[in-house]
Symmetry: C2
Subunit: 410 residues, 2 copies
């Protein structure tokens, strides 16, 4: 069953076949339905709006056994239930190391010190006097798909790929603030520290800091959400989420990296020979089919939309391939709209499903020429000791019932 | 005081001057602040996240005297408090004619009938089997700024310009469904009807319906919000919001417009001579400065960001001018990032405010060569009988205290 075998004309025929039983409109449709016979709620019933009660299953979910406490845990974005490319703020995944800092923005300060000409302590109001930019970027946790190193384990792309979101950030270029402080000769590294109980900190090489990093105070038009670093977060486009320090309180310049906990014992990739890959910052090209997927089974046979997301920390997505047979045959998916650099891209493939078993895979390509590898190819180089940087090709088994399962193919 | 008189170097000097008092970092900053000394909330404290308690003023607001009942009223987007271009779903303005229809998506049906070869009744699942697209569009109510026809009245851009939002829609091209039903020769108009208590309906010329209209089931990645038409809304890019029928239940093709209530006694512009402009669908180019504005006064003298939004129902925004003196002198603002067709564009101007009175204005230009007119120029042609299609230049008076007021200049 090749993909896109039939053009749009055939798709329409399939639609009218689906709807054929209703060629003569049901009189029940013409008379007003219940919801059209009485007034509904008025305006500002919810001054800050909420989703429909029928969407109550579209939520972030955690995995209880994953961590000792919810303050050092993760909740996952329900990718299987989302459309488009923008992630709603209320559904952006969470990963905390000491819980959500509850910060009064009027009391918040950002300190810039170390190898600078003039140390600064800035309020949010100071930052809001500087030129502002808006950029859409994906953020992926380094541990996203981490449990897949040892085989297919979690049954749903919410869990296997849901440490991922994509929003429009508003803020100030980090370079603007560093230049205001004055970078002293010899400074090569920037340490960013959060104001949470974990004082999470990471070292960032100065060229990246001066290239495209942002000090963001808004996401998708409104203030950052508490769990995303309110009131200030470091944005490190294309690099692993752990470096996007939330509740940002301190930037220190020095001539060497800090070798802090989160870049030594954690967030490094342990190789089969016992050595670790050091500074694996960039998130390589990756993709996942979000529908169908284990939490989004096929509703029935006939015309079917296969949909998913692709992203690359090195640039823009140029192509996504789809396989229905576990990687033996590949065809190009349709990338929807413009695919901007370091942001999620949405892809689609239309097919007719006749009820046969499928082994669904997607494979991303980026504008550096890189192609998303298989999990086995990654394991050959990296072994299975790490929980980080697994960008291998994911496989969903679609059963004749329409149910979908996370599986491995060799 | 010209705009952008000083370059970035000077901006940085201004910043370090602002922060000069803090050149020696306050020891209080270096020791952990309260929120860094104990664990915060864990993950899924809110499975569907909500804003910080410090942002509780960033909400939709209505105007009690405006309408007889909240079910036929409007609430406004807090533009003055928003950044970037995407509007968060919870803050998108509301305008209802019979309250919010509370629709069970499993029971929802869309009927396509009239001058078609094959009438169809489609479920949401039927629609989700068709090829899907994602597009960002602004939506503006025809009555946005309506009260400004008779002079400056409401003190805040939330009220003067807040019937406006901008989100990423996901759905099916309307043309796909109409072609599936088969358009009969002679069909020229499409009537779209909502499933709300008002059965709100509008006539749309078939060329527009077949050009870029969408049947949308998602906004900013998740299902439509109830107040935005859950589970299905018609998207009519660049045209007035009233035509973007919410809770969409019916599409009927015919050879003439329906001349329904919302396109005859309402949503037509009454001219000084007693005649009405018929079918004023397109929203002409417009802009507004969102900060500073009456609800977002200036925090103090010194380096200041002037920020606003611009949009055009005819194409893309190509330039926005800013005046500090009520329209005598104009300079180009900086348009941030790419400005896509029929979507909001964000503009900025950086200036130094020394405390003098300002008469702030913005003026949008689009890629058809159209320039946003003054209110007086509009009144000369249209009089003051209408409440629709006021895209005149807005003026904010900034007082030496930093307070801002809605005023008129001639």
């Amino acid at each position: 069953m090749p993909l896109n075998r039939r053009g749009l004309g055939a798709a329409l025929a399939a639609l009218t076949a689906t709807a054929a039983k209703a060629q003569t409109p049901d009189p029940a449709i013409i008379k007003p339905q219940d919801w059209a016979t009485s007034l509904g709620d008025g305006v500002v019933t919810n001054p800050y709006g909420i989703p429909s009660k029928y969407e109550s299953a579209v939520i972030r979910r955690d995995v209880a056994w994953l961590t000792a406490a919810k303050q050092s845990s993760v909740s996952f974005t329900p990718l299987h239930a989302l459309e488009g490319t923008i992630t709603p703020n209320g559904l952006c995944f969470e990963r905390h190391h000491g819980g959500i800092a509850d910060i009064d923005p009027a009391q918040h300060r950002l300190m810039i010190h170390g190898m600078v000409e003039k140390p600064l302590v800035l309020t949010l109001q100071d930052l809001k006097r500087l030129p502002r930019i808006n950029r859409v970027y994906f953020l992926e946790c380094a541990a996203n798909s981490g449990m897949e190193w040892r085989g297919a384990q979690l049954n749903g792309c919410q869990y296997t790929h849901g440490m991922l979101h994509n929003v429009e950030y508003t803020g100030v270029k980090l370079s603007t603030v560093l230049e205001a402080a004055g970078i002293r000769p010899g400074a090569k590294w920037l340490m960013a520290e959060g104001a949470d109980a974990a004082s999470l900190n990471r070292s960032i090489p100065l060229p990246k800091a001066l290239d495209d990093c942002m000090l963001a105070f808004a996401m998708n038009g409104e203030a950052l959400r508490p769990e995303q670093g309110y009131p200030l977060r470091l944005v490190v486009p294309g690099w692993q989420g752990n470096m996007w320090v939330k509740w940002l309180r301190r930037l220190k310049l020095d001539d060497a990296p800090w070798m802090s906990r989160e870049e030594t014992s954690k967030y490094t990739d342990l190789l089969p020979d016992g050595r670790s890959r050091r500074f694996t910052w960039v998130m390589d090209a990756k993709s996942v089919i979000t529908s169908p997927s284990p939490q989004a089974p096929l509703a029935g046979r006939g015309r079917t939309i296969i949909s998913g997301l692709a992203w690359s920390g090195r640039g823009a997505i140029t192509r996504v391939d789809i396989s229905l047979d576990g990687g033996r045959n590949w065809q190009a998916a349709r990338l929807d709209g413009t695919t901007s650099k370091l942001a999620l891209a949405r892809f689609y493939a239309e097919t007719d499903w006749t009820g046969q078993e499928l082994l669904l895979q997607s494979r991303a390509h980026d504008d550096t020429g890189y192609t998303q590898p298989t999990k086995d190819a990654l394991r050959k180089i990296r072994g299975v000791n790490s929980i980080y940087h697994n960008n291998g090709i994911q496989t969903w088994l679609v059963r004749p019932t329409g149910e979908v399962e996370n599986v491995e193919v060799s």
